[in-house]
Amino acid sequence: MFSILRTIWLTFLHIFHKTETIEYPEVKPYLPPRYRGRIVLTRDADHNERCVACNLCAAACPVDCISLQATEDETGRRYPEFFRINFSRCIFCGFCEEACPTYAIQLIPDFEMAEYDRQNMVYEKEHLLIDGEGKYHGYNFHKEAGVDMGVKGKGEGKNEETPVDVKDLMP
């Protein structure tokens, strides 16, 4: 009984509390630098796409908002034929960023993405791909991992073990 009255009284006292509301469009909220917002695809220093269409980001995405199709250019280098993110589904969790081996996919602090047409929330590669390197300057995956030049096959390099035959049961 008393607790109810106390509740009412405490609620009533909120008249004298400061209003927490921020009148947003007029007053912008402060965003932290690492605020996770919209997703972008970055390029390396050579202005090439970092993405190698490994599909790890799509696999990591909990809401399945990423879809892409891998293809190869004439040199055998893989790149996405299309890369599509449905932002009406995206929850900005950042798993894709963590999954990306080439630092291609990154989240930026932008969040103002309101659209009148729902379809416009689907971003294609051209919308996603930016010109910059994003957070990791100078990183180039191919520099680190190397490129197959047709000299030796897999597992034939120094200190390199033969690849595991995944179709075999033996250890």
């Binding site: 509740t7 609620t11 009533f12 909120h14 008249i15 209003t19």
Partner: protein, 314 residues
């Protein structure tokens, strides 16, 4: 001529208050929740009321094909009619009332009991299980709380020696009835909450469980009528509380009596909203138990003691 004005006044004042309450409630709630509330449409968002009204009027008035059409249409009307009818016996000021009935309180009770039908029939006619459950809850709840709603008022009636609101107001010249009838007031207040199925007793429409309950299927102005009806109900209960327990239009003479009446009513409405802001919703069976096992005995006890004291001092 004066009569027409009175009628218009009695009709329009509550209606406008109720309409305004749409805004008032949102504002007040946001105040108590440290928010701002509607402030975009017009100054302080005051035109929000108009915007809502326009929206309701222009929405598609859709009657579900599986519903019981005549009843479905009739239900919201009953709510409006019964509540507005009740205002006719409430004195807004000296002489400012439609008719001074010698059974005013009974008239109010009768109308409030008829008001149940709107919800019950609305829920039933929707032919939707959530609506039906809401309607059944509403009927049980209102039937229960009506019992001691009437009983709690009988203390006042005994002290004023009349069923007429006007006489009761006049009987409070030397002191509001809230002081001798505090228990009655509390009981009536709680019953009023339940009668208007306001939070925390909004079990018939509990959106968490029933998805708006009895008015799930309503839209457009029919929904609007339920919507406004609820605020009208608050106004009515507040007005009656003000009349019966807080001296009605009585007040210092530097302001007209109607002001005092409306002022008291508004304060009470704010208390209603405060309750909404602060209290959680009880479970259905808790509500019924609370009604039958605590409030009813309390009301009876109040009645008994009041009667005994009155007889003792006579």
């Amino acid at each position: 001529m004066k009569f027409v004005f009175i009628i218009l006044g009695v009709l329009l004042i509550p209606l406008s208050i109720a309409a305004g309450l749409i805004w008032v409630e949102r504002r007040l709630l946001s105040v108590w929740q440290d928010r701002l509330g509607p402030n975009r449409v017009g100054p302080f968002g005051l035109f929000q009321v108009i915007a809502d009204t326009i929206k309701l009027f222009f929405k598609e008035d859709w009657v579900p094909p599986f519903s019981d059409r005549p009843v479905f249409v009739m239900a919201p009307g009953i709510l409006m009619i019964t509540i507005l009818l009740t205002f006719s016996v409430i004195p807004f000021g000296p002489g400012f009332l439609v008719f001074d009935s010698n059974i005013g309180i009974l008239f109010f009770l009768g109308n409030s009991s008829l008001g149940v039908y709107s919800i019950v029939l609305g829920g039933w006619a929707s032919n939707n299980k959530y609506s039906l459950i809401g309607a059944m809850r509403a009927s049980a709840q209102m039937l229960t709380y009506e019992v001691f709603m009437g009983l709690s008022l009988m203390g006042v009636v005994m002290m004023a020696d009349s069923f007429s609101f006007n006489s009761i107001v006049l009987a409070q010249k030397h002191g509001w009835f809230i002081f001798p009838q505090f228990v009655g007031f509390i009981v009536f207040f709680i019953a009023g909450l339940a009668e208007t199925h306001r939070l925390p007793f909004d079990i018939p429409e509990a959106e968490g469980e029933l998805g708006a309950g009895y008015h799930s299927e309503y839209s457009g102005m029919k929904f609007g009528m339920f919507f406004v009806g609820e605020y009208l109900g608050i106004t009515l209960i507040s007005a009656i509380m003000a009349t019966l327990f807080f001296g009605g239009w009585l007040g210092p003479a530097f302001l007209p009596p109607v002001f005092w009446f409306l002022f008291k009513t508004m304060v009470l409405i704010c208390v209603f909203i405060l309750l909404r802001a602060s209290l959680p919703r009880p479970r259905y069976d808790q509500l019924m138990e609370f009604g039958w096992k605590i409030l009813l005995p309390l009301a009876l006890l109040n009645l008994l003691i009041t009667g005994a004291v009155l007889i003792f001092f006579k």
